[in-house]
């Protein structure tokens, strides 16, 4: 466990270096963009701006300054708004976190039962329908699904669900978040349906299920008590992986629904070549994803006593 935690830290340091180097390969920095907009370049001005932003220093030094600040909780300043990066990022986190949690809840509540149903009724029309549906769910681009939902709202209600920062009360908040959350969660639910189905089928073929059946346990007990418990193990691991994919979906869904969350902010920062913002946002995403995977690994070992992580 200690070793795995160490590996996790190594991965994060590696990611920070990778991102840092990649972003420095980019042709043009914020000084270029500002001057492009002005249409006129005064080399002295440009050099001054680059010096102010620390862009003239060697890359290893820039990296050290960034990581040093990060460890002290100082994320630097946004080039774009000239405000501390932390003030830009922090208020956006709860918005995205709520969306992600709601989306994952949808995905599990819909995906897992449908997967079980599909497996229990293997090779019936129900199974085929669910399989085709889940496959098509994986084929829909998240942003298109979002646009289609907007379109449906226009057609049926004449308005689109608009994001407001101050919804009145719990139910209004839930309502506001659930539409985009459903748009993101749909893909994950399709994925979980497929996974639960194949995992259930695997388990249902095992000896202990035959034993349960021969001792006269009802189908209900077999499917939902004996089989589901073990079939959920691989599903839990994949929920960890799915967290990363969900984040990808959130980037476009927040864009489509115009929600000021962290995920959409990444794209905006990239467009502005706002290095401190991009770096910090990617690091934040990396920390979240790596931590979720770490927790899921631990949970997996706890749920399945056969797995032990040797130290």
């Amino acid at each position: 466990m200690v070793r795995r935690f160490g590996l996790m830290l190594v991965t994060l340091v590696g990611i920070s270096m990778l991102i840092f180097v990649l972003l420095r390969l980019t042709p043009g920095n914020i000084a270029d963009i500002l001057f492009d907009a002005g249409g006129f370049v005064d080399p002295a001005d440009k050099a001054r701006i680059e010096k102010d932003l620390g862009l003239d220093r060697p890359i290893p030094v820039q990296y050290a300054v960034w990581i040093g600040g990060l460890l002290k909780g100082d994320l630097g300043y946004s080039y774009q708004t000239e405000r501390p990066a932390i003030e830009e990022i922090a208020p956006r986190i709860p918005i995205t976190a709520r969306l992600a949690a709601l989306a994952l809840t949808f995905a599990v509540l819909i995906g897992v039962p449908l997967g079980v149903l599909s497996a229990v009724r293997q090779d019936t029309w129900l199974d085929y329908t669910l399989r085709v549906l889940s496959l098509s769910g994986l084929a829909l681009p998240a942003f298109w699904l979002g646009l289609l939902i907007l379109m449906a709202f226009v057609a049926w209600f004449g308005t689109i669900p608009i994001y407001s920062s101050e919804p009145s009360g719990f139910w209004a908040t839930l309502q506001m978040y659930s539409v985009p959350a459903a748009a993101v969660g749909f893909r994950s639910s399709a994925f979980l349906t497929r996974l639960t189905r194949s995992s259930m089928l695997e388990v249902l073929r095992q000896d202990y299920i035959r034993t349960a059946r021969s001792k006269g346990a009802s189908e209900m007990t077999i499917n939902y008590y004996h089989a589901l418990k073990n079939a959920m193990l691989p599903v839990i691991t994949v929920i960890g992986l799915e967290a990363g994919i969900l984040l990808g979906g959130l980037i476009v869904t927040e864009t489509v629904f115009n929600i000021p969350g962290v995920a959409r902010f990444l794209v905006e920062a990239v467009r502005w070549r706002d290095y401190p913002m991009v770096q910090n946002l990617v690091m934040f995403i990396a920390v979240v994803v790596v931590t979720i995977n770490f927790v899921v690994d631990m949970l997996y070992a706890y749920l399945d006593p056969r797995i032990k992580y040797a130290d």
Binding site: V10, T11, L12, G14, I15, L18, I19, L22, L23, L25, T26, P27, Q122, R131, V132, L135, S136, L138, A139, L140, P141, A142, F143, W144, L147, L148, L150, M151, V154, I160, S198, L201, G244, I245, L247, G248, I251, V252, T255, V256, N258, L266, V267, V270, R271, R273, V278, V282, I285, A286, V289, V290, N293
Partner: protein, 297 residues
């Protein structure tokens, strides 16, 4: 022990295969969904190859009088804001998707195969470093990685291909490495060593061809993913730029405005993406079932 023997795989799956057409017939009967996927892929390839012959309008020529024209006999799927025929743009868009899918697959998988093969066969420090690096890349969501790459390179068709190729490398390398690891313990590799074959020759002549089956399974599954990533990058304005008729670009943020006024501009390009990706998924599923006996139900 050379390449994938589809004939043998088919008979193993229970087919009574006498001729090539018999094999095709079996595939259709055993995997109707996979066959449907193959048909969708064929239509997609046909549209990309013969785009000038099946369209009337130029996908790039603008026409102010046809701005936001509704779908009609003249413009089957309507026109966009600049009066460009949507049907033409979607048909030509198949070329962009195909170019990105093949380009990034070729590039990404050749790097991935090389890394995986070397890593799994040589082991040692090379393996250790490569694996740590790939793990790092995989710790970030695919789309986030692609966005950073695309942003670092700048928006263009070539750079989109490069960015997507880059994010494909880890999964290919890991699958090939795992296969290589199990292959290197096989008796026929030992035999090749015993007769004094050089390491390089063993790797290329004996190990590489045997990684083909898992590779095909992975590659088909990834075609859909590359098309989706391209569409998403272009949608965000970080992928294939105007005036290329990219399906994702057609749906770019401004599309939200057309939700009210010109829904056809939102429906058709998205449908094109979804149908093609659905087709690759169906075909990929059937191929996996056929080539990977452990998954067979």
């Amino acid at each position: 022990m050379s390449t994938v023997d589809f004939q043998a795989e088919l008979s193993a799956a229970g087919a009574n295969v006498k001729s090539r057409w018999g094999a095709v017939g079996f595939f259709i009967r055993r995997y109707p969904l996979g066959a449907a996927g193959a048909v969708i892929m064929a239509i997609f390839l046909f549209a990309a190859a013969f785009a000038p012959f099946i369209t009337i309008y130029d996908p790039l020529s603008t026409n102010a009088t046809a701005s936001l024209a509704r779908p009609s006999a003249a413009h089957w799927l309507g026109c966009d804001f600049m009066g460009r025929d949507l049907y033409s743009r979607i048909v030509y868009g198949a070329r962009i998707s195909l170019a990105v899918a093949t380009g990034s697959m070729l590039l990404g998988t050749s790097i991935g195969i090389t890394l995986g093969l070397l890593s799994g066969y040589l082991l040692g420090w090379f393996d250790l470093i490569t694996q740590r690096f790939l793990e790092m890349m995989q710790a970030l969501p695919l789309l986030v990685m692609a966005i950073i790459m695309a942003a670092a390179l700048g928006p263009s068709l070539q750079n989109t291909i490069l960015a997507i190729a880059f994010v494909l490398v880890p999964s290919v390398a890991r699958v090939i490495r795992a296969t290589t690891l199990s292959l290197r313990e096989q008796p026929f590799i030992e035999a090749a060593k015993a007769i004094g074959m050089s390491e390089r020759r063993i790797m290329i002549r004996h190990v590489l061809p045997n990684t083909l089956a898992p590779f095909i399974v992975l590659a088909t599954a990834q075609v859909g993913a590359t098309i989706l990533i391209e569409a998403t990058l272009s949608f965000l304005g970080l992928g294939v730029p105007e005036p290329h008729p990219s399906w994702g670009r057609m749906l770019s943020e401004s599309a939200a405005e057309y939700v009210h006024t010109a829904p056809w501009l939102v429906i058709f390009p998205g449908a094109a993406i979804s149908i093609v990706v659905f087709g690759t998924n169906l075909l990929g599923d059937a191929l996996r079932d056929l080539l990977d006996p452990r998954q067979r139900s």
